[in-house]
Amino acid sequence: MPTRRLELAALAVATLLWAARAEAQSPYGIGRAATPAEIAGWNIDVGGDGSNLPPGIGSVSHGSEVFAQQCAACHGAKGEGGVGDRLVGGQGTLGTPKPVRTVGSYWPYAPTLFDYIRRAMPQNAPQSLSNDDVYAVSAYILSLNGLLPADATLDAKSLAAIKMPSRNMFVGDPRPDVKNSECMSGC
């Protein structure tokens, strides 16, 4: 108990110092210090390299169950699409007249699949899935795209290790890329 109280006191002092520091150095002294706990609660950004992926693990098989319950109504039982985007297939179609853009064919970094599902899906209840369930659903979608075996499990390390087929497809912006003349007559 005394240790706990001491910890709280230390935390309070640290928070005060934090706040004082913010006020001391800010040009306008507006706002208050964000605590590490507050930042941790809100910062759900997962980097393309897998940075900030949370602990957790999920299997393809569990993912197929979660997908059937939470995702299939919009994305189809096998990710073939419906009201929601198609998620599966399309590899090798991007340079053709009928490109099919999916997670498998048009998604450069596997960890941001976790990021998107966690922050925005399912559409009727975003941020409701557990991290384990998000790993599982990610595993299932990657498996449907042939990027994971059916008996695989996924965690932060293995998700970051997956190289997406479209990783090197994306290029920078070369615009202005189209030229018109300023022809005024006899055009």
């Binding site: 150095q25 208050r32 941001t112 070369p174 890329d177 005024m184 055009c187």
Partner: protein
């Protein structure tokens, strides 16, 4: 110790107030009665009594009393000037609604007609419970309330906003100016320079991007290059003088002038200063531009120079040969519109249009050209040239480079066909 005269005056005031209150109820009743009879009366009025030499009916009875509309609305005769929202969208949570450009004058879009694009519906946010968190590569991670944000020095600017998919490259093309480029609007925004807010936290070396996140159910996430954040980006809380509309990000949105609409994150709740972009879904799998060779362009921020004639335009009809002013709007994400040319002979020759002053950076610019229509079929179109010297291209020129699977950033010249009977249609349709 109130003087008797003061008491008398108070009593007199109270009874006058009561009279006005009761009077307004009576007048209100009269208004409702007139409203019910309105359509019948209007039909009868077509040929009875409202035109010279007769005195119109609306001069023979008092109008609506003060307070009939505590927040004003357009005339009931303008009821068809509304957002252009397709009735056949696959869903309405991630969807868009267009500004009726062909029905508007000037350069400012009324707030109720500002185009909408959201990815998880429109949240209802209590500003007292809204927070902006600023963290990452900063000396002092900070949290701001809306009151905090409004304490910063403020600034106002007129900027356009345009969705990057406006329109697509594939047929079928829309019928009206709104169908084609109605994911475009322009407003005066008030807020704080993002640079000031970032300086408040202190940027650390290596800060190259700011990842902005919305407080909607899509938690919309886009990465903004730090150069833009330290240039003209702002955090806006007001639009055309009033607080942002919910559809525009109430209570706080990011504005990155001239960049594609999606980057102007609404319902802004978090700014994460980073060394790398987030590579979020909405800057990789969406809002990227697939090329015919199988590559895809990413981080295509700028909206390039563009213009469209809004009058006469698709869906309208010229009443008769003779004088008609051609009028439209031009804009560029790369600064100011330098010139707009108009052709009335299917692109064979072009004349310089008059630009309405002031011509503002990254705002809509209104252009006009006086025109005498000879009553023969014609094709009219406009071409914007911006201050970098860039010339708005034709659709054929764009397709030749990008192919028709390119989804976004279609800034093609758009011609209107005028038939002998005056009907105006999309010349590419």
């Amino acid at each position: 110790m109130t003087k008797p005269t003061d008491i008398d005056r108070n009593v007199a005031c109270a009874s006058r107030r009561r009279f006005l209150r009761e009077g307004s109820v009576l007048l209100g009743g009269a208004v409702i009665a007139r409203g019910l009879a309105g359509s019948k009366a209007r039909a009868a009025a077509e040929n009875a009594g409202n035109l010279p030499p007769d005195v119109p009916e609306w001069m023979k009875t008092p109008g609506d009393p003060m307070g009939t509309q505590p927040y004003g609305a357009p005339s009931p005769f303008e009821k068809d000037v509304i957002k252009n929202i397709s009735k056949t969208l696959p869903q309405y949570l991630s969807a868009s609604g267009r500004t009726p450009l062909q029905d508007l004058d000037g350069i400012i879009t009324p707030n109720g007609l500002f185009y909408e694009r959201h990815h998880g519906g429109v949240p209802t946010i209590d500003p007292a419970q809204h927070r902006l968190m600023l963290h990452g590569l900063v000396d002092r991670p900070l949290i701001f309330t809306m009151d905090d944000i409004r304490r910063f020095p403020s600034e106002s600017h007129i900027y356009f906003l345009e969705c990057s998919g406006n329109p697509e490259y594939k047929k079928p093309y829309g019928k009206t100016a709104s169908d084609l480029v109605g994911l475009l609007s322009c407003a005066e925004w008030t807020g704080v320079s993002l640079k000031l807010v970032l300086q408040e936290a202190g940027l650390q070396p290596g800060a190259k991007w700011v990842v902005a996140e919305g407080a909607d159910s899509a938690a919309m996430t886009r990465s903004i290059p730090i150069e833009k954040c330290l240039d003209d980006a702002m955090l806006a809380y007001s639009q055309n003088g009033e607080r942002l509309r919910p559809q525009q990000g109430y209570p706080l949105r990011l504005l990155v002038p001239g960049f594609e609409g999606n980057m102007n994150v609404k319902w802004l709740r978090r700014l994460h200063v980073t060394a790398e972009p987030a590579y979020s879904r909405d800057e990789t799998s969406k809002y990227t531009d697939p090329m015919p060779d199988g590559t895809a362009r990413e981080f295509t921020f700028y909206m390039e120079a563009k213009s469209i004639i809004t009058r006469p335009s698709g869906g309208q009809r010229l009443s008769a040969p003779g004088f008609h002013e051609i009028s439209g709007i031009a804009w560029t994400g790369r600064g100011k519109v330098r010139r707009v040319d108009v052709s009335v002979d299917d692109g064979k020759s072009w004349q310089e249009a008059q630009l309405q002053e002031p011509v503002l950076t990254r705002a809509l610019t209104r252009f006009r050209l006086p025109w005498h229509w000879d009553g023969k079929p014609a094709v009219i179109q406009s071409r914007a040239i911006d201050e970098t010297g860039y010339v708005q291209p034709t659709l054929a020129e764009l397709l030749a480079v990008r192919g028709d699977n390119y989804v976004y950033h279609n800034n093609a010249i758009w011609p209107w066909r005028i038939a002998a009977d005056g009907e105006v249609t999309n010349a590419h349709a």
